[in-house]
Symmetry: C2
DNA sequence: CTTGTCAGGGTAACCGGTGTCATGAATTCG
DNA sequence: CGAATTCATGACACCGGTTACCCTGACAAG
C-alpha cells in the first residue's frame, strides 16, 4: 500500500526518475503484468479496448521493456553480433552502419567481435562470445563467413546466423550473397569495349572465395567476347597495397606487357597504379587499371580509379533485417548488386 | 528430486548441454548459491578452502555467470557503448580494437552507436541507447566527445563515461587526453629544422577542438624558434580530401608561396599533395607536406606522408580500462602520446 | 558465565520480464 | 438447450543472478 502511494506520484518527477517497469504499466492500466506482456509481444489474445488502454499508458510513461529482463526470460538476448576479421576498416564501418540502420527503432543492440582466424583460440573465443552473451544471432562477414568451421559451430551451438559472402555457401536463409562474379564480368566487358586483349588479373589471398569469384566472373566475361585470361598474366597478391606493387612489377616485366590490369580490390589496384607510375607508365594511357570495392582510396587516386562499387551498407541492412525478421527485404534487388563505376584509370588501349 | 537426478549426469554430455547455472555450482560444491555468488564477486567473507572447492567446480563445468541475469540484478548491464560520429573509418575500427583489447577475457561486451550530431533526435537517440540497454558506461570519441550537451546528458542520466579528446574538457576521471598539441609542436620543430619559414596550416572543421589544438601546438612550436604562422597562410578545411585540395589551391596562389604545409589530418594532407602535383609542384622539393593521424593513406601516397602518429588503439584500450576499472593504466605513458613519423613528403626548404 | 563481535554462510525476496495453467465469460455446435 | 470451444485474462512459478537480513559458532572482553 505504502509503496503504491509512493509510486503514485509517478514518472514525470525527478530528472533521473526510476524508469517504469511492467508492473507500473499493469497497475496504472488496471490489468495484470501478463496482459501487458501480451501487448508488448503482440499476442492476439488481448481485447482491442484493453490493448489501447495499455498502449496509452505505455506511451504516456514512455515505457520500454528492459532487454535484460526480457532476455533472461527468453533465454536469449536482444543483441546481434557482428563478427569480422577484415582488415578493411571502411568495409567494417559500412557494414556496421548498415546493420545499425536496420536495427534503429528496434530493441536490438549491435555487439562487435573482431577475430583472427589464425589464432588457436579463434573458435573458442567465438563460441564464448556467442554463448556468454546469449546472442540473438550473428552476422558473419568475409572472410570468417567463408569458414566452414564457423558455420559448423553455429549449427552446433544453435545460433542463428547470416553469412555475407560473394557466393552461396549454405542454405539460402543463412546467406546474403554479394555476387562478386557479376562485378568481374562487368570489368571484363568494360575492358573489352576499350579494345583490351592482353588483360591481367591480380588476385587476393589464395583460398579467398571473393577473389576467386571476381576472377571467375572476369574470365567468364572475357570468354563471352572471345578473350582469355592467360595464366602468365595472373599474379597472386594478398589484398594489400604492397602486394599490388609487387604483382604489378612482375606483370610489367612481361613482354608483351598487359594493357590492362584488374585487381581484386582497390588497395591492390592502388599498388598497381603506384608501381606503374614508378615505371614511368601512366594510367590509363599506358595501362588501364580497375579495382574492386569502391572505397575512398578509389576517388583519391590520380587518375581516379575505375572500380566495382559494392553496396556494403545496403548488404548490412539486409543481413540485420534477415536476422531480426523484418520482412523489408522487398527492396529493389538491384541495389544489392555490385556495379561498375567508370572513372579515369581505365581507357582505350593505346 | 527427479530434476536433481536428471541434472546429475551433468556438463560433458550432449553437444548443446544446457549451460550450468549458479545453482548447479552450488549443489555440486555443497554450498548455497549465495556463497557461489560471493566467490564470483570476490567477496572476502569466504573461507579459503570453500573458495577453492567452488572454484574447482566452476572450472570443471566451465561455468560463466549469465551477464543478463547479473545485469538484471545489478540494474546495470555489462555492456559498454562506443559512441562515434567520426567519418574516419580507420579511426573507428582502431578505437574499437583497442576497446576490445581491454575487454578481452572480461564479461563485458562492446555495443556500438553511430550518431549524427546534426540530427534533431541526436540527443534523444543517445539517451535511448544508453537507458534502454542500461549501459555500464560509454566511450565518447571525437567529435561527439567535445559536445557539452552530451556530457550534460551523461551526468543527467547518471551514466559513467569517458571522453576521448585532444585536451581536457572535464574532470580527469572522465578524460582520456590525446594531447594533439604535442603533435603540432613536433611538426613545427621538424619543419623549422628543415629551414622552413613560410609555413601554412590547413585546419579541420571550425569548432573542432582537435584541429584547434593541433594548430595551437604548431604555433607554439614555431614561436619557440622565433617563427610565426601568418594568418594568410591559414586555410579552413573540412577534414576531407576535397577540402584539402581547395585549401592548397588557395595557398599555392599566394606570393610568396609557403614552402611547407601542415594539414590537420592526413586526408587533407593528401589533398594538398594532390593539388600540388596538379600545379606541377613536387613534394618535398617544391613543397613539404605534413599530415596528422598516420592512417593508411599516409603510407600509400607518393612520396609517403610525414605525419603525426596517433596511437588510437592504445587510447581505446586505456578508455575501456578506465571504464571497467582495470588498474592497468600504469603502462608507458609515452605510448599514448602522438609522435612524429618522418617520411618523404617533407624535406629541406629549397 | 554472560555479552559482544566478527567471520562465514544460509534464507527469502527481488530485479523485470516470460511461460504454464486455471478461470470465467461468450460463442459455437450438436 | 446443454456441452464444447474459443477468447480474454489472471495467478504463480521461473529465468539466473543479486541484495538485505538472519543465523551460527568461535573467541575476546567484561
Amino acid at each position: 500500500m505504502a509503496k503504491q502511494v509512493a509510486r503514485g506520484r509517478d514518472g514525470q518527477g525527478a530528472g533521473t526518475s526510476p524508469r517504469p517497469t511492467i508492473n507500473d504499466i499493469a497497475r496504472l492500466s488496471g490489468v495484470s503484468k501478463k496482459t501487458v506482456s501480451r501487448v508488448i509481444n503482440a499476442s492476439p489474445y488481448v481485447q482491442n479496448e484493453t490493448r489501447k488502454r495499455i498502449e496509452a499508458v505505455i506511451a504516456e510513461l514512455s515505457y520500454a521493456p528492459d532487454p535484460q529482463a526480457r532476455g533472461l526470460a527468453f533465454r536469449r538476448s536482444f543483441l546481434i553480433g557482428l563478427v569480422y576479421d577484415n582488415s578493411n576498416a571502411q568495409y567494417v564501418v559500412n557494414m556496421q552502419l548498415g546493420l545499425l540502420d536496420a536495427m534503429a527503432g528496434t530493441d536490438f543492440g549491435l555487439l562487435v567481435h573482431a577475430c583472427d582466424r589464425a589464432s588457436p583460440s579463434f573458435l573458442e573465443d567465438l563460441r564464448g562470445f556467442i554463448k556468454k552473451q546469449r546472442l540473438f544471432g550473428v552476422v558473419l562477414t568475409p572472410s570468417v563467413s567463408e569458414d566452414e568451421r564457423v558455420a559448423a559451430l553455429m549449427v552446433e551451438i544453435g545460433c542463428t546466423y547470416v553469412r555475407v559472402a560473394s557466393v552461396s555457401l549454405d542454405e539460402p536463409q543463412h546467406m546474403i550473397e554479394t555476387h562478386d562474379r557479376l562485378g568481374g564480368e562487368a570489368v571484363a566487358r568494360h575492358l573489352a569495349e576499350f579494345g583490351h586483349q592482353r588483360v591481367a588479373f591480380v588476385s587476393g589471398l589464395p583460398g579467398c572465395r571473393a577473389s576467386h569469384e571476381r576472377r571467375e566472373g572476369f574470365e567468364a566475361g572475357l570468354a563471352a567476347v572471345g578473350l582469355e585470361l592467360e595464366p602468365r598474366y595472373c599474379q597472386e597478391g594478398a589484398y594489400t597495397f604492397e602486394s599490388g606493387i609487387e604483382c604489378a612489377e612482375r606483370l610489367l616485366k612481361l613482354k608483351p606487357r598487359p594493357t590492362a590490369v584488374f585487381a581484386a580490390n582497390d588497395e591492390m589496384a592502388a599498388g598497381v597504379m603506384h608501381a606503374a607510375r614508378l615505371a614511368g607508365l601512366g594510367a590509363p594511357k599506358d595501362l588501364s587499371v580497375v579495382g574492386f570495392g569502391d572505397f575512398e582510396i578509389a576517388r583519391r587516386l590520380l587518375p581516379r580509379l575505375t572500380t566495382v562499387h559494392t553496396p556494403t551498407r545496403a548488404i548490412g541492412r539486409l543481413a540485420a533485417e534477415r536476422l531480426i525478421g523484418v520482412a523489408d527485404e522487398g527492396r529493389e534487388p538491384k541495389d544489392r548488386l555490385p556495379t561498375l563505376v567508370v572513372r579515369e584509370s581505365s581507357g582505350p588501349v593505346g
